[in-house]
Each structure stands twice: as structure tokens, then as C-alpha cells.
Amino acid sequence: MNQDDLLFAKTHEWVAITTEDEGRFATLGLSAFAVEELSDLVFIELPEVGRQVKAEEPFCEVESVKAVSDLYAPVSGEVVAVNDTLPDALETLKEDPYGAGWIAKIRITDDAGLTHLMDYKTYQRQCEEEG
């Protein structure tokens, strides 16, 4: 996926919104900047399929050599799919953060979270300030 077509949370998760027959879906992952900052990832605990998540609340944990970090759900909804290949191939997060490195797919039940998301340009400005 092209980063310019994605939306970003201030906590560094990216979202691709798609409309399908069954409703609106958010595929999400972790930005390239965040993966670089975390460095030396050793573990990811994926959310369970079927779990209800709430925008801006933790839904997934990544463990690096140095620290453990929460990932925050960028939207509210139900987890309908997770990328099962990730735990055994964490390098995918770095090699293809916006494609093969996707983490989960959520059926959006509430649009409220969407207003907090920003486009890539705005997100990049935030990264420059943090970096």
C-alpha cells in the first residue's frame, strides 16, 4: 500500500479504510518510523479474532530487547482477521510495514475514532518533531 493513501494515529499506527459488502473495514499496522524507533523486536502478541476493540485503547503488544510497547486501536470495532505469520517473521514489520507487515483487520462499528487520524504529510511532521 502507498503510505500517501493511509491514515495515521498520533501513536504511530496506520490504517487503510475499505468499504466491502459487509461494511467498512480498517486494515492496520505500525508505521515505518515506529518500527525503526522500536528496533530489535522479539515478540508480538496479536489480538484474538472476534475481540471488540475501542479507538485509542491498547489492543496489541510488541516486545523489543529494550522495552515493551502497547499498540493502540486506531478505530473501534471487531477484530475480523490477524496476520498470523507475523510472530515468526517479525522482520516483515520492517521490510514491508505498509503491506505484508499488516497486523490486524477490524470491522468498524463506530466512526468516532476516525476523526483523530491524520494524513501522511501531517504524520510526517509529527515524526520529524519526535525524531
Binding site: 504511530h12 524507533e37 522479539v42 503488544e61 530487547v65 522495552a67 502497547d70 499498540l71 493502540y72
Partner: protein, 408 residues
Amino acid sequence: MTVPQKTKPSDLARTALHDWHVAHGGRMVDFGGWSMPMQYSTILQEHQTTRTAVGLFDVSHMGRLHFHGPDVGRFLDSLLTRRVVDMHAGQIRYSLICNQQGGILDDVLVYRLETPGSQATPHSSSTPRSPDPSFQMVVNASNRTKILDWLTRQKADYDVQFHDVTHATTMIAVQGPLAISLVDPLLDCDLPALRYYRGKRTRFAQWSCYVSRTGYTGEDGCELIVAATDGPPVWESILRHGAERATGKGGIAAPIGLAARDTLRLEAAMPLYGHELTEQTNPIQAGLGFALNLQNRQFVGHEALMNFQAENHQPLRIGLQLDGKRVPREGYTILHAGQPVGEVTSGTYSPTFERPIAMGYVKQSAGAPGTTLQIDIRGKLHRAVVVPLPFYQRGLLSARKSLGNRHP
């Protein structure tokens, strides 16, 4: 996720190598009031470079204090858990500084320096003691001000002078199995002949240099102290010689940040002040009995330590090994049969053993090697086994596996 706070460089002290770190991709963070590199490449890569070749560490943030004067030996002996007055020039000792309650104020290295003009050698024990011996002490960065204040308060009538040479000097640790052979040709002394925990003044090219066979990684190696302004050329010279001794792609030496310094010292089970050591812990429970001389001595904390030794029921420092990938972090609760028995003080994913390891303090009844404990990792109990320390000892691992570049 939340990105760790980067340093606001203006508020922090800088080593003479600061600009080099920034120019070479060092991620700078606040460490004990200093702007220091956390890492340059990846932690795993830097860790393995040190375990298999040579790692270069800027440790200039460590406090370096010099002592001299007629009473210097007696003064230091009144504060240190280990006797130093009997040290010969060139000897180095690990010691602790305790408060009256036996709590640890800092863990330090004490160096008996060569006294200018007297050519005492480590072997000539009959050499008359110089009238004015001099010592160096290396203290933790975060404790430097506290220790300077403590020394000033304890000085009383001792005829001794001390001064802080931290900012005037650069200290570089060169660590790894190839460290000695890399640095030896650059020094005007026989480095392989220098024994562990010995030091001497020599020259590195045209620069005056104090070299010691010391380190904080569990590997062989040395540490160099030069004038602050000589730091960058000495640092670059070592890297250049490392590059010339190439093994395939790239050289044998690389700069290493604080993150890998932490994983290296943790595998070697070396305690870190602020984690395993605090003013609330005493040397006996920390497993540092080797750094105590209690017989026929008086020093601050002596009485308290005698008491701790007599009735030793304090929680003990232990090592823990876990399966899986979840890493116990500082402050996590340790349980035995469902009951809390202690806390983790440091934990990491061990790059060498490819599993989580931790150190912590537990009740003595739960601390025997082989005991199965649990650690509460973010609400879930994970099985952890008490193992003897250190986790890593150089030489013992090489037969098990060679550490190739297996990580992304």
C-alpha cells in the same frame, strides 16, 4: 505505541565524542545527565560484535576522581568496603561505598596510580611506600555529584586532596575477544602481559594514555583514559585499525551504545547502580561479599554490615531464566507458589541465549538455583527458573554455538 523521549541536548553534559556519535547515527538519550548514544545500528548487532569481535564504548560519562595527599590511603579506607591502603601502583580493585546503614551509595573502581618519581612495580613489595601515593576512583555517572558531596563531608581532618577530572578526560572501553590484539600494537606497552584488573600509564601514538584491563561486558578487553581533546583521534584510530583488519565485509570493530552495554552486562550478571544496587540494598544481599573486607577494619557502614552478615535474612539477588519471548522488566513482581516473594531489577531478551533473562531480589527461601518461580508480566504469570549467576561466562559458550549474524 509511544516513542521514547529524545534528549534536549542543551540541558545535558556532553563527552568529547558527542559530535562523533551524532555524526555517525547515534540515537542520543539522557543517561545520568549526559547525552549518550543508545545505539548506532541494532542492539542485537552491537551485542554480537562485542561478543565475537571488538566493541568500542564511550564511557566518558563515568565519573573520574583523583586523590592525593599524605592521608589518601587512610581516607579512602575509612569510606570503602575493601581495603585499598595496601594496594601497589598498577593495581585496581572493585569496591563499594556504603552509608552508615550499610546501604550502597555507589560501586566503584579504585586505581592505585604510579606516583610520579617513584618507580614502584607491582612485584617489588619491599619498595618503600611513596610518601604521597595517588589514587583514581571511577564512579557511576548518576552518582558523581553525590559521591563528591559525600567525600567532602567525610574529609574531616584527613590531609587529602581530590578533584574531579571527568570533563578533562575521555574514557573508552574496548571490549571483545579481539580487543587486546587490536589495541596492543597501538600502545607503547605490552598489553597482553598486563593482567586482569591492572593498569598502567603508557602512550597511544603521540598521546599520553592510562590503560587498564577492565570492562563491563563479560569479555576480555581494556579501558583507555586520555585527555578529553585526545578522545576523538584515539577513538577514530582504533576504528580505523579495526577496519584494516577486515574479516570479509567491514572491519572487526564497531561503536556500541548504552543499550547493548546493558544487555552485555546483564548476561555477565554485573549489577548496575539504580537497579541491582541502591541505598536500600547492602553488598551481602547483592552477592558482592568478595568486595568486603570486614576483619580488623573501621569504615562507614562497617558495623551495619557486620550485623547483616551475622543475621543474614535479607532478600537475595538471583538470576532468572524464562522460556518464550515475553521479557520481565524492572519492577515486575516475582511469585513463589502464588505468593509475592520479590521484584525484578533488570530484565532483557538475551541475544546470546535467545531467551529472556532477568535479575531480581527474592526471599531467601525462594532463591535456590533450580527453584521454579513465576513473574507477573503485565497481568499474566510466566514460569521462571532460578539459575546460578553469571548467565554468560566467556569461553564457556564458544563450543555451544558460534554467534553468526542470524538476526534481522
